[in-house]
């Protein structure tokens, strides 16, 4: 369990991982040494698994296609779904992979340059895998919100008075 101060620190890092320990210290009242040590621990414990900016590729003009793929899998005795999941997560095309409850088993987010790329990956790599029973591919048409960030429309601007009591 995280302590309250660690929870606050981790939340701040999750919102802006560019902040240096000195800056984090100013905002949390924790010492820079403590913060550096905690971050090192969290990296070691795989609590912090990476630092990535959130990029809206749709705005770059680069072509990119994403698809959500539902996969039905035959679970393997002694391993359940973990064995196949371990194998699947190695593919760089697969950006996210979840075990789901409900009508299918695994949910994959796949990214490719073209629809053809994605279709080929599904047909050749995914559907042909042993234990995969069926796949259903849903192409993403438009991204409205991702990782908690609204991507559509302008940011709400505050229309506050410049001075108020």
């Amino acid at each position: 369990m995280l302590s309250e101060k660690d929870r606050r620190l981790l939340k701040l890092i999750s919102e802006d991982c560019r902040l240096l320990p000195e800056e984090l210290s100013l905002q949390t009242g924790l010492s820079p040494e403590y913060i550096s040590e905690r971050i090192r621990d969290w990296e070691k414990e795989k609590v912090i698994v990476g630092y990535q900016p959130m990029i809206n590729w749709d705005r770059t003009g680069d072509e990119k296609v994403s698809a959500l793929i539902e996969v039905k899998v035959l679970p393997q005795r002694g391993y359940g779904f973990d064995k196949i999941a371990k194998r699947l997560q190695k593919y760089p095309e697969i950006k996210a992979l979840f075990l789901m409850s409900g009508g299918y088993d695994l949910s994959l987010l796949i990214e490719g340059k073209t629809m053809q790329d994605v279709a080929l990956f599904v047909a050749e790599k995914l559907a042909s895998l042993e234990h995969v029973q069926s796949t259903a591919t849903h192409f993403v048409l438009r991204r409205y919100k991702q990782d908690g960030i609204e991507l559509m429309g302008e940011e709400e601007t505050l229309q506050r008075l410049v001075v108020s009591p």
Binding site: L12, L26, T28, R160, L161, P165
Partner: protein, 389 residues
């Protein structure tokens, strides 16, 4: 046409803030730390409720006291969060912002000859409302070295037997000071001894850091002597919705309801529906806002201390109130020269009462980027002044 104005209105001094607002409004590219409202938009779930109430055709008057559902929800909320118990039928009145509630308290209780004891510095409305109610004001000075808490000895010094009402506004605007239980207890004894009523303006009660708010009304024997005033503006970033409330003894609430029914009729219904939703499901969003304020607060205090200025650590609201007397400038001079030279707007401490001299109020209800830029500019200004002094 000035001679047509009632004399007590004509003689009312304009708000010190207004004067400064007019000055800032003429300038371009100003970074303002002068705003006394959250920089967050009302949480979506709350906005959505307001919209839904309109779609449902909820565009009528409500009862004078406000939607019963809201009063009931508030009654639960106050009991859960501040250990206060108010009957939603007779002891809670929904108002158009806490500002109306302050006015109602003054008008329901005060008359010519009465005196109100007001902390100095404090929010700009108390004295004018008291004067408009025919009363006069004695200021209770508070000091940086005492963490801007009201002390009973300072209260006793300005007390007069004509005093009927004491205002307690903690967490305080502009200082950010809070009062703990042990600070409030001697005040409670004083209030009992002199048979005073108390207007407890708890509008910033949700915005405290490291310590939880203790409401004066929750102290032994103080419930019926206290008119508990608060609202949704600061806690839930709902300034424009204009929803506040006052809770207290049924007889006093009834008196206020009479004034409210003849002058305001009721608070806006859309805002009342939104407020119900705020209490039910925006507390997580509120906590996130408090966390953000807390980070900025630490950053600001550190920034002013780095400049070589004394800066009392505020534990509530969203203001810092640094001491600028080392620059040999008065609060007003500091604010005016800073605005002209560095285009940063702050509010002179004197806008909140004479004890604000030597201080400026800086709101930290701004993004971190804005605060960083503002502090950089203020630091340049202070450095120049300290070099000259």
């Amino acid at each position: 046409m000035n001679n047509y104005l009632a004399s007590h209105v004509a003689s009312l001094p304009p708000s010190g803030i207004r004067k400064f607002f007019d000055l800032v409004a003429t300038m371009k590219d100003v970074i303002s730390l002068g705003v006394g409202e959250p920089d967050f938009v009302t949480p979506w779930t709350v906005r959505e409720s307001g919209i839904f109430s309109l779609e449902e055709g909820q565009t009528m008057y409500t009862s004078n006291a406000g939607l019963f559902e809201l009063r009931e929800e508030l009654s639960h909320h106050l009991s859960k969060t501040l250990d206060l118990s108010y009957d939603p039928y007779h002891e809670i009145l929904i108002t158009s912002g806490a500002s109306e509630a302050v006015d109602l308290v003054m008008r329901a209780i005060l008359g010519p000859g009465d005196v109100v004891l007001v902390p100095d510095p404090s929010y700009v409305s108390y004295a004018p409302c008291a004067i408009l109610a025919g009363a006069s004001v004695n200021y209770v000075p508070t000091y940086a070295k005492e963490n801007f808490r009201m002390r009973v000895e300072d209260l006793a010094r300005v007390y007069t037997p004509k005093a009927k009402l004491l205002v307690l506004s903690y967490p305080n605007n502009p200082t950010g000071a809070i009062m703990n239980r042990e600070d409030l207890l001697p005040i409670a004894d004083f209030v009992t001894k002199h048979d005073l009523l108390v207007l407890a303006d708890d509008i910033y009660s949700d915005l405290t850091y490291d310590k939880t708010h203790v409401s004066f009304a929750s102290l032994p024997g103080m419930r019926d002597r206290t008119l508990f005033v608060s609202g949704f503006s600061k806690s839930y970033a709902m300034t424009g919705w204009r929803i506040g409330y006052v809770a207290g003894h049924a007889d006093l609430i009834l008196g206020m309801t009479k004034i409210h029914q003849y002058t305001m009729l009721c608070a806006p219904i859309m805002g009342q529906f939104a407020a119900i939703e705020a209490l039910r499901s925006a507390n997580e969003a509120k906590n996130d806002m408090v966390t953000a304020y807390d980070r900025r607060r630490r950053f600001m205090v550190h920034g002013f201390r780095q400049m070589g200025l004394d800066c009392f650590e505020p534990l509530g609201a969203f203001y810092v109130f640094p001491d600028i007397s080392k620059t040999n400038l008065s609060s007003e001079e500091f604010a005016e020269q800073l605005l002209k030279e560095e285009k940063v707007a702050v509010v002179p401490g004197t806008a909140f009462g004479p004890s604000g001299e030597g201080h400026i109020r800086c709101s930290y209800a701004y993004s971190m980027e804005q605060l960083q830029e503002a502090l950089k500019r203020i630091a340049c200004f202070v450095e120049r002044r300290l070099a000259n002094s």
